[in-house]
């Protein structure tokens, strides 16, 4: 049993400053949980509280059946991969990996076996006798992982371990980590501010802001149903288009006016958002739902091209009308010039609607 349960944990720095405020989260056994959020939102603090490296001013933490709130870090049987790697600079790679096992009294032959295994998996064999100072960033990162693996802990805690790597290596390590998680089947908590890492690696993601949790769920579910504008914008790049909007009853259906966008909603959306009529609202449209060709549920928007990023596989196009900008992810053939007047088509069957005052989403589905 190595599920992790956070019960209303807080880290209060005094003077009303909170690192983490009243966070409750249940992480299942063997789950890959991603903590996602902007800088300073309390991800590291949460992770360090689980590890026992940060004071818990209120609340309780359980790992499996054990209440570990008061336990010293060494008694929690968790391994941490730090953002800075925190390799012991005066020890060789081998000694770095051995340290934790030595502290725990693992028999020597068992230590050697585990080090050999980890070195094999992570491709560290040639470097075992080097000091960390003589390794590249990617190699150090793998050593940090190896040091955690050989301990065979109940729980892996990783604080932005990929943020120091270049894009290619990051992509590779992302897949390696997912593989590793499948092999070991251990509970892992992974902190990142990169939404791609969160989407691709997590069984579930937990989005945080200002020391509090905004939304928890499987990546695709959160992507499809963000509970508020913050989550909607954070979980994609380019961020979701948000346009102040007003819904009005029109001829038995529902009409929408959102900046340059105006027209009738499709029947399903009209039924869904009938409650929102007449309230100030915010229309949310993901860039991939702004199309270049009209469809059954689209509304046209025209504007001047102000963003034009050809990415090879696709293009990012931003158009502007009356101070409202709309970004679109388009097929690569669609590549207008800067300043061109173009018409795009917003797929209203994929729209999101948020309350303008609170930023909270109007629920989809029933």
């Amino acid at each position: 049993m190595t599920a992790i349960t956070l019960d209303n944990i807080s880290r209060d720095y005094g003077c009303g400053i909170f690192g983490v405020r009243d966070v409750s989260l249940a992480i299942d056994e063997g789950e890959f949980m991603v903590l996602l959020g902007p800088s300073g939102c309390g991800k590291s603090t949460t992770l360090r509280m689980i590890a026992g490296l940060e004071v818990i001013t209120s609340g309780r933490i359980r790992i499996g059946a054990r209440d570990v709130t008061e336990l010293a870090p060494r008694s929690r049987n968790v391994a941490v991969v730090f953002q800075s790697y925190a390799l012991y600079p005066h020890m060789s790679v081998r000694e770095n990996m051995r340290f934790g096992m030595k502290m725990r009294g693992t028999p020597l032959d068992e230590q050697d076996r585990r080090i050999a295994d980890a070195a094999e998996i992570l491709g560290l064999d040639p470097y075992l006798d080097r000091k960390p100072g003589a390794l590249s960033g990617g190699q150090r990162q793998r050593v940090a992982l190896g040091r955690a693996m050989v301990r065979e802990p109940d729980v892996f805690l990783m604080d932005e371990p990929l943020s120091n790597l270049d894009a290619k290596l990051r992509g590779e390590m992302r897949q390696e980590l997912v593989k590793l998680h499948r092999r070991l089947g251990k509970t892992m908590v992974f902190v990142t501010h990169d939404h791609v890492e969160a989407m691709t690696m997590g069984d579930r993601i937990c989005i945080m802001r200002d020391g509090q949790i905004e939304q928890v769920g499987p990546p695709l579910e959160v992507y499809a149903n963000p509970t508020n504008t913050f989550v909607a914008q954070f979980l994609a790049s380019p961020a979701m288009n948000l346009i102040p909007a007003r819904l009005t009853a029109a001829g038995g259906g529902l009409g929408i006016t959102a900046g340059p966008l105006a027209g009738a909603l499709p029947a399903r959306e009209a039924a869904l958002y009938a409650r929102a009529a007449a309230e100030p609202a915010i229309l949310g449209l993901r860039a991939e739902d702004v199309l270049t060709a009209p469809g059954p549920a689209t509304l046209p928007v025209s504007g001047k091209v102000i963003v034009r990023e050809a990415l090879g596989a696709e293009n990012l196009i931003g158009i502007e009308t009356d101070g409202v900008t709309l970004s679109a992810r388009t097929e690569r053939q669609f590549l207008p010039a800067f300043g061109d007047q173009v018409t795009l088509h917003a797929d209203m069957s994929q729209m999101h609607l948020f309350n303008a005052a609170t930023g909270v989403a109007y629920p989809k589905g029933t």
């Binding site: 941490v80 800075s84 012991y88 502290m103």
Partner: protein, 266 residues
């Protein structure tokens, strides 16, 4: 070519400005008293001054006293300074007040402490003893070393201890097995500075010591007698006094440079 020669001669000149007085002291230690103020380079070179120091004065004892007191005081204060510095760096023990007090103790003129210490020592029977002098030097070194080591510890990333503690070490274990080895260059550098501080100390050695416990600076000062300054012998003594400093600095130059530039490395 010419530019190189020019810049080199510039450097040689600068070195000479620093070295010349020391070299001249060394030269003076090798000539008889009557020639010490002459401008000849080496008239009648002799080791007579050194012989007098050791055979007729007790320079050997003085030297040994200095070594014992300087080394022991560092050995004594270093563990305490390491722990205090660590506590300051990591736990904000004592807050700003404790840090300020540590720094302030370095700004106090030594005379302000010398008299009270003398009174205490006389009552405790610690005057005129190497133990007493060692203790004073350890006490003087403690805040100094604490301050230096605090800086070194602060520059060590806290995550290192976090890693050690999740790896199974206690806080003390993390300090002992990780922090101290990583801070070793800093500790070595601090040790040398502490040694130099004690080696050169004069006031307390004079006030608290007697003829048996006189250290090198006291012995050298004693050569300025009412019959005049025996400059050749003073020169010989100074030459010898510089020796351990040269050796110490040379021996741990690597650490000194590493240690003093510690913050910028990582």
């Amino acid at each position: 070519m010419i530019r190189r020669a020019l810049s080199h001669s510039g450097l040689v000149l600068a070195c000479l400005i620093v070295l010349l007085p020391i070299l001249w002291v060394f030269r003076t230690s090798l000539v008889p008293d009557h020639a010490s103020y002459s401008t000849d380079l080496l008239p009648q070179p002799t080791l007579e001054n050194y012989r007098v120091l050791f055979a007729e004065k007790q320079f050997g004892t003085n030297y040994l006293n200095s070594l014992i007191v300087s080394i022991l005081s560092v050995v004594l204060s270093m563990p305490l300074a390491a722990m205090t510095g660590y506590a300051f760096a990591r736990f904000r023990t004592g807050g700003k007040a404790a840090r300020f007090a540590t720094l302030a103790s370095q700004m106090l003129p030594p005379v302000a402490l010398a008299l009270p210490v003398f009174m205490l020592y006389r009552a405790a029977g610690l005057t005129n003893s190497l133990t007493g002098l060692t203790l004073v030097y350890a006490a003087i070194n403690l805040p100094f070393l604490t301050w230096i080591l605090m800086g070194f510890f602060e520059s060590i990333p806290e995550d290192l201890e976090g890693a050690a503690m999740t790896d199974g070490a206690t806080r003390w274990g993390a300090f002992w097995r990780i922090v101290l080895p990583v801070a070793a260059p800093g500790i070595m550098a601090a040790a040398v500075l502490g040694f130099i501080l004690s080696w050169n100390e004069f006031l307390f050695a004079l006030i608290l010591g007697g003829s048996k416990t006189a250290t090198v600076p006291v012995a050298l000062a004693a050569l300025q007698t009412s019959n005049g300054v025996q400059i050749s012998q003073v020169s010989a003594g100074v030459s010898l006094a510089i020796l351990p400093l040269l050796i110490a600095v040379r021996f741990i130059q690597k650490y000194l440079v590493q240690g003093l530039s510690f913050g910028s490395v990582k």
